[in-house]
C-alpha cells in the first residue's frame, strides 16, 4: 500500500517537474507572419501569443496526447494533435483565411449594398436620407448611383436601358406590387416606404440571386429594422404636411404607430406651379410596426400600412394643347408584410413570409372614369443550410395570387369596358454559394416559375463569382437569365403572351483602400420576347405579340472618398448604348427614358461651427430621345441636356431639450429650364404640322423645409 502512495506522489512530482518547450511560427497561406495569434494546448493555461515575426514559444508540463489550438481573428481555427513526451517540439503552422472575415471576397457584380460593416459596401444606411436631391426618397437617393437614369417626369427608377416596371422592390424578401404612389401621367411620383424603415439595402442593377424573380432589369432588396433600442416619440412639421410617431419597446416586443398627413396646397399657394391644380396632392397615411422576439433566436416582424391620396388638376390634352382636361385621381392602398425568421439549429435557418396588398386607383378624365383594382397575396418559405464555411445552400418557394380588375367608363359612348384576370404564380428556387478561403467564391442557382394566366413554365439559371486579386481589390462576374410576366395592361387583353426575357452579363472590378472605393462595371444585356402591339388598349388578343427585342451595353464608374474628416463625396458616371424594338416602335430605337451619358457628383460636408451638414448634388444627363412626327426618322431627336444642382442643409439642434433636426432642401440652383421630352398632337394642324408640347417639371424648383423633433423622456 505504501508503495502505491509513493508512486502516486512520485507521479505527481514527476508530472510537475517535466517541462518541455513548444515553439514555431504561424503564417498565412502565402507565408506572411501573423502576429498576435493565440497558440495554446487546448483546455489548459499553457500557450503564448505570436510576436511580430509570427514566432511563438512556451513551456508546458502537460504530457501525453494533447491538442494544439491556434486562433487568430479573420482566420479559421487550426488544431493539431501533439504528443508531449518530454522532448521539445517545433512547429510551422499556416492558417487559412476565414470566409466569415470582414475582408473576405464578396460577390459584387451588379450590386450596391448599403451597410456599415463589410469592406465591399458602397453606401451607408444614412446616405439614403442625407443625399441632396434625393428628397429622403429611397428611389431618389439610388438615382445617384451609376446605371440609373434621370427620368424627371416619372420619379421612378430606370436601370440600364430597362423600363421602370423592370425594377422590382422586395420588402423583407417579398415582392411589392405597388412600390410607388399612384401617378398622373408626366407628374413624378415617389416611393411609398420611408427610408427609416430599413437597416439594410441592396440595390442590384443586374445579375441577382435566383431567390428573386419577375424582374427583367433590377432588384431593390430592402431589409427592415429589427427590435428598436428604446422608446421614441417623434414629430415632424413640414411645408408639405405633418406627422407623428411613437415607438414603445418592451423586453421582447416593440410596437410603433405613426400617422402622416400631407397637403401640398399651402406650398403651391406660395410657389408658382406649371400646372393648374384644383386639388393639390394630399393624403393620409398610417403605419403599424410590430416586432416580437420568439424564443432565443426567432424574430417576428410585421408591418401594416394604409394610405389614401387625392389630387385633381387641369392639364392640356394631347389632342389640343389649348383644351384643358380635368384629371382627378383617388388612390387607396393597404399593405401588410409579416415575416418570421428563426435559427433551427447551428446549420439551418428558416424564413417564412406573408404579404397582402390591396390597391385601388380611381381616375376621372373629365367625364370618363377608370377604376383599377389590384389585389395580391403572397406566401414564401426559405431554408438556408450552412455546411461549414465552404458551402451555403438556400432553397424555397413562393406562391402569389393576384387579382386584377379594371372598369373603364367612356362617357361619350355611355359604355362600360370591364377587364379582369386572376393569376396564380408559383416559383421554386435553389442556390448554392461556395466560398473557398477568403479569396474565391461562386454562386450557382436556378429558379423555376409557373404562371396560371400565361400557362407557361420558365427556368432561369443564375451564376456569379468573385475572385480577390489583391488585399484590396477583387474581380467579379455575373450571368443570368431573367423572366417577367408582361405588364397588366397587356396580359389583361392577351393572357396568351409569353414571359419577357433578358440575359445579363456583368463584369466588375472593385478597389477599396484607405476608405476610398473605386469600382468599374461593364455589362451587356440581351432582351427577347418583349411585348409589341399595333395599337394600345386594343381588346383583341392577336394585336399583341412577343416579337420585341433589344440590347443594352455600357460601362458604369463609381468613386467614393471617405478618408477626409467631415467631408464625404462620391462621383458616378454611366455610359449606355441601348436600342429596343418594343411596344408601338416601328423599328429598333433608343427609348425616350435613356440618356447616353449620366454623371452625378454628391458631396456632404459637416460644418461643426453651425452644427450642420451641407449636401450638394450635381446631376448631368445628356439629351433624351423623342420622336418628332414631323420628321422622317423615328425617335431621332434629342432634348437639351439636363443639369441640376440641388442643395440640402440639415441643422442639428435641440428644442426644449429634445433632439431636433431642421432640414432644408432646394433643387435647380442653376435656374435652368428642364425639358424631359415632347408630346405631339395626334393630328396635324392646318399647316400640316404636328404641334409639340414640352414635358416639364411641376415647377421650376422644389423647396422643402421641415422640422423633425425626437421627444425623449
Amino acid at each position: 500500500m505504501k508503495r502505491i502512495v509513493i508512486i502516486i506522489l512520485f507521479n505527481l512530482l514527476f508530472l510537475h517537474s517535466q517541462a518541455q518547450q513548444l515553439s514555431g511560427r504561424v503564417t498565412d497561406r502565402k507565408g506572411n507572419p501573423l502576429p498576435g495569434a493565440n497558440v495554446l494546448i487546448e483546455g489548459s493555461y499553457d500557450g503564448a501569443s505570436t510576436d511580430e515575426n509570427g514566432l511563438f514559444s512556451f513551456k508546458t508540463k502537460l504530457s501525453g496526447e494533447q491538442s494544439l489550438l491556434v486562433r487568430f481573428v479573420g482566420f479559421r481555427e487550426y488544431r493539431q494533435p501533439v504528443s508531449l513526451d518530454g522532448s521539445d517540439i517545433k512547429l510551422d503552422i499556416s492558417l487559412a483565411e476565414s470566409s466569415q472575415s470582414l475582408d473576405a471576397v464578396v460577390i459584387t457584380a451588379g450590386s450596391f449594398e448599403a451597410g456599415d460593416r463589410k469592406k465591399a459596401v458602397v453606401l451607408k444606411p444614412l446616405d439614403i436620407v442625407t443625399t441632396a436631391g434625393g428628397l429622403a426618397d429611397i428611389y431618389g437617393a439610388l438615382q445617384t448611383l451609376p446605371g440609373t437614369q434621370v427620368v424627371g417626369e416619372e420619379g421612378k427608377i430606370f436601370v440600364r436601358g430597362g423600363d421602370s416596371y423592370e425594377t422590382k422592390t422586395f420588402f423583407d424578401g417579398l415582392p411589392v406590387e405597388k412600390p410607388y404612389y399612384a401617378q398622373i401621367p408626366d407628374i413624378p411620383t415617389r416611393g411609398r416606404f420611408s427610408p427609416w424603415l430599413f437597416s439594410g439595402t441592396v440595390f442590384s442593377s443586374g445579375g441577382y440571386s435566383a431567390e428573386y424573380g419577375q424582374a427583367l432589369s433590377s432588384a431593390l432588396i430592402l431589409e427592415s429594422e429589427g427590435l428598436p433600442e428604446q422608446d421614441v416619440t417623434s414629430i415632424s412639421l413640414m411645408t408639405v404636411g405633418l406627422g407623428a410617431s411613437h415607438t414603445k419597446r418592451w423586453k421582447k416586443t416593440s410596437l410603433s404607430l405613426s400617422g402622416n398627413y400631407s397637403n401640398l396646397g399651402p406650398y403651391f399657394g406660395l410657389v408658382e406651379q406649371e400646372f393648374e391644380w384644383e386639388i393639390a396632392p394630399r393624403g393620409f397615411e398610417g403605419n403599424v410596426i410590430f416586432r416580437q422576439q420568439a424564443g432565443k433566436n426567432g424574430l417576428i416582424k410585421a408591418y401594416g400600412s394604409y394610405g389614401n391620396g387625392r389630387n385633381k388638376l387641369l392639364n392640356p390634352t394631347t389632342a389640343n394643347p389649348d383644351e384643358l382636361q380635368q384629371i382627378d385621381l383617388k388612390d387607396n392602398n393597404s399593405y401588410l408584410n409579416a415575416t418570421y425568421t428563426d435559427i433551427l439549429s447551428d446549420k439551418w435557418l428558416s424564413y417564412a413570409g406573408f404579404a397582402y396588398s390591396n390597391d385601388r386607383s380611381d381616375y376621372a378624365f373629365d367625364e370618363d372614369r377608370l377604376d383599377e383594382m389590384v389585389r395580391v397575396a403572397q406566401g414564401k418559405y426559405r431554408l438556408t443550410y450552412l455546411a461549414g464555411e465552404l458551402l451555403k445552400l438556400k432553397f424555397g418557394g413562393i406562391f402569389q395570387h393576384k387579382q386584377y380588375d379594371q372598369k373603364f367608363f367612356v362617357f361619350d359612348e355611355n359604355q362600360n369596358y370591364h377587364t379582369a384576370f386572376t393569376d396564380n404564380q408559383s416559383a421554386l428556387f435553389a442556390e448554392s454559394e461556395f466560398t473557398i478561403g477568403s479569396s474565391f467564391a461562386f454562386r450557382l442557382g436556378g429558379r423555376l416559375e409557373y404562371s396560371s394566366l400565361l400557362d407557361r413554365i420558365n427556368l432561369a439559371p443564375r451564376f456569379s463569382t468573385a475572385l480577390k486579386t489583391s488585399d484590396n481589390s477583387q474581380l467579379s462576374f455575373a450571368w443570368g437569365i431573367f423572366y417577367q410576366t408582361p405588364e397588366d395592361e397587356f396580359v389583361r387583353f392577351a393572357p396568351g403572351l409569353n414571359y419577357e426575357k433578358a440575359a445579363h452579363y456583368i463584369l466588375n472590378y472593385q478597389l477599396t483602400k484607405n476608405k476610398k472605393i473605386f469600382r468599374v462595371e461593364a455589362y451587356y444585356k440581351d432582351y427577347r420576347n418583349l411585348v409589341k402591339f399595333d395599337s394600345l388598349h386594343s381588346p383583341i388578343p392577336e394585336s399583341y405579340d412577343n416579337k420585341g427585342k433589344g440590347y443594352a451595353r455600357g460601362i458604369d464608374l463609381f468613386w467614393r472618398d471617405n478618408s477626409i474628416t467631415r467631408f464625404d463625396y462620391w462621383l458616378s458616371y454611366g455610359y449606355i448604348d441601348t436600342k429596343r424594338d418594343y411596344l408601338f416602335f416601328p423599328e429598333e430605337a433608343t427609348p425616350d427614358f435613356v440618356s447616353d451619358h449620366n454623371f452625378r457628383a454628391v458631396g456632404k460636408y459637416f460644418v461643426s461651427q453651425i452644427n450642420s451638414q451641407v449636401g450638394l448634388t450635381y446631376t448631368f444627363a445628356s439629351g433624351r430621345p423623342y420622336n418628332d412626327p414631323n420628321k422622317k426618322d423615328f425617335m431621332d431627336e434629342r432634348t437639351i441636356a439636363y443639369h441640376d444642382v440641388s442643395l440640402n442643409i440639415s441643422y442639428l439642434t435641440s428644442l426644449w431639450d429634445n433632439f431636433t433636426v431642421v432640414y432644408f432642401s432646394i433643387g435647380n440652383l442653376l435656374d435652368r429650364e428642364h425639358v424631359f421630352g415632347y408630346n405631339y398632337s395626334p393630328n396635324p394642324n392646318e399647316q400640316g404640322i404636328y404641334e409639340p408640347m414640352a414635358v416639364k417639371p411641376m415647377a421650376k424648383r422644389f423647396i422643402f423645409l421641415g422640422v423633425f423633433i425626437s421627444l425623449t423622456e
Binding site: G36, L40, G43, A48, S49, V73, D116, S608, L652
Partner: protein, 213 residues
C-alpha cells in the same frame, strides 16, 4: 492503515484541486494587474489571448471571458489600425457572449456590452455615432436596472456624453456631472472578489481632470 492511506490520497486530490483554483486566482490576478500596465495594442491583444486561454481551461468561470472581451475592446483605443477594429470587436463580442452564457443578468456584462458598442463608434463616428451610442445607452440602462451602484456605467455614460456634439445633447457641460456621479459611486464601490471587475476609477479621474475644470 487503509483509512489513513485513503485520507492521504484524498488530501492529495484536494490539494491538487486547491492548487487548481489557486492557479486560477493567481493567473487572473496577474493578468488583471497587467492590464493597467499595458501600453500597446499588441501587448493588450496578447493579454486578451491569455485570458482566453484561462477561459478555455476553466469551463465554468465567466470572468476570464469578461476580461478577454475587455482587453480586446481596450486594444481598439490603443492606436490600432481602424480597419481592423470591427473584427477585433467581433472577437470581443464573441467572448462576452460566452461570459453571458455562464452568467446571466450581470450588470458588469451589460456594462461591457455598452463599452463594445461605444468602441465601434471610432470606426466611423459620423455615420455610427447616433446608432451605436443608442445601442450602448440601452445596455447601460439595463446594467443600471440590475445594479444602480455600478460606477463603470456612469463613467462610460459620461464618455458617451463627452463625445456627443452639444447639439445632440452632449458636451462637457452635461458629461461632467456624470463623471462626478461616477466618482461618488467609485468611492463607495466594493468589488465582490479580488478578481471581480474594479476598473475605471483612475480613468474617470483623468477624464475629470482633463475636461471638468
Amino acid at each position: 492503515m487503509k483509512k489513513s492511506i485513503l485520507a492521504f490520497v484524498f488530501a492529495i486530490v484536494m490539494m491538487a484541486g486547491f492548487s487548481q483554483s489557486d492557479k486560477y486566482l493567481q493567473s487572473m490576478k496577474a493578468g488583471i494587474e497587467e492590464i493597467s500596465e499595458t501600453e500597446t495594442h499588441t501587448d493588450m491583444l496578447a493579454l486578451a489571448n491569455r485570458f482566453e486561454r484561462i477561459a478555455g481551461a476553466e469551463n465554468d468561470q465567466w470572468l476570464p471571458w469578461y476580461y478577454a472581451a475587455y482587453c480586446n475592446t481596450l486594444a481598439c483605443f490603443m492606436g490600432m489600425d481602424i480597419s481592423k477594429v470591427d473584427q477585433q470587436l467581433e472577437k470581443a463580442q464573441a467572448a462576452l457572449d460566452k461570459a453571458r452564457e455562464l452568467e446571466e443578468e450581470n450588470d458588469e456584462i451589460e456594462v461591457m456590452q455598452g463599452f463594445i458598442y461605444q468602441a465601434g463608434i471610432i470606426v466611423d463616428p459620423q455615420s455610427r455615432g447616433y446608432s451605436y451610442s443608442t445601442k450602448s445607452n440601452t445596455a447601460f440602462t439595463k446594467a443600471k436596472s440590475i445594479n444602480p451602484d455600478n460606477p463603470r456605467v456612469y463613467f462610460l455614460e459620461a464618455q458617451n456624453l463627452l463625445n456627443t456634439p452639444a447639439a445632440y445633447g452632449g458636451g462637457p457641460a452635461v458629461a461632467c456631472p456624470k463623471y462626478k456621479l461616477a466618482a461618488e459611486k467609485f468611492a463607495t464601490f466594493k468589488p465582490e472578489s479580488k478578481i471581480a471587475p474594479a476598473w475605471g476609477e483612475e480613468m474617470n479621474e483623468g477624464m475629470m481632470e482633463q475636461n471638468c475644470k
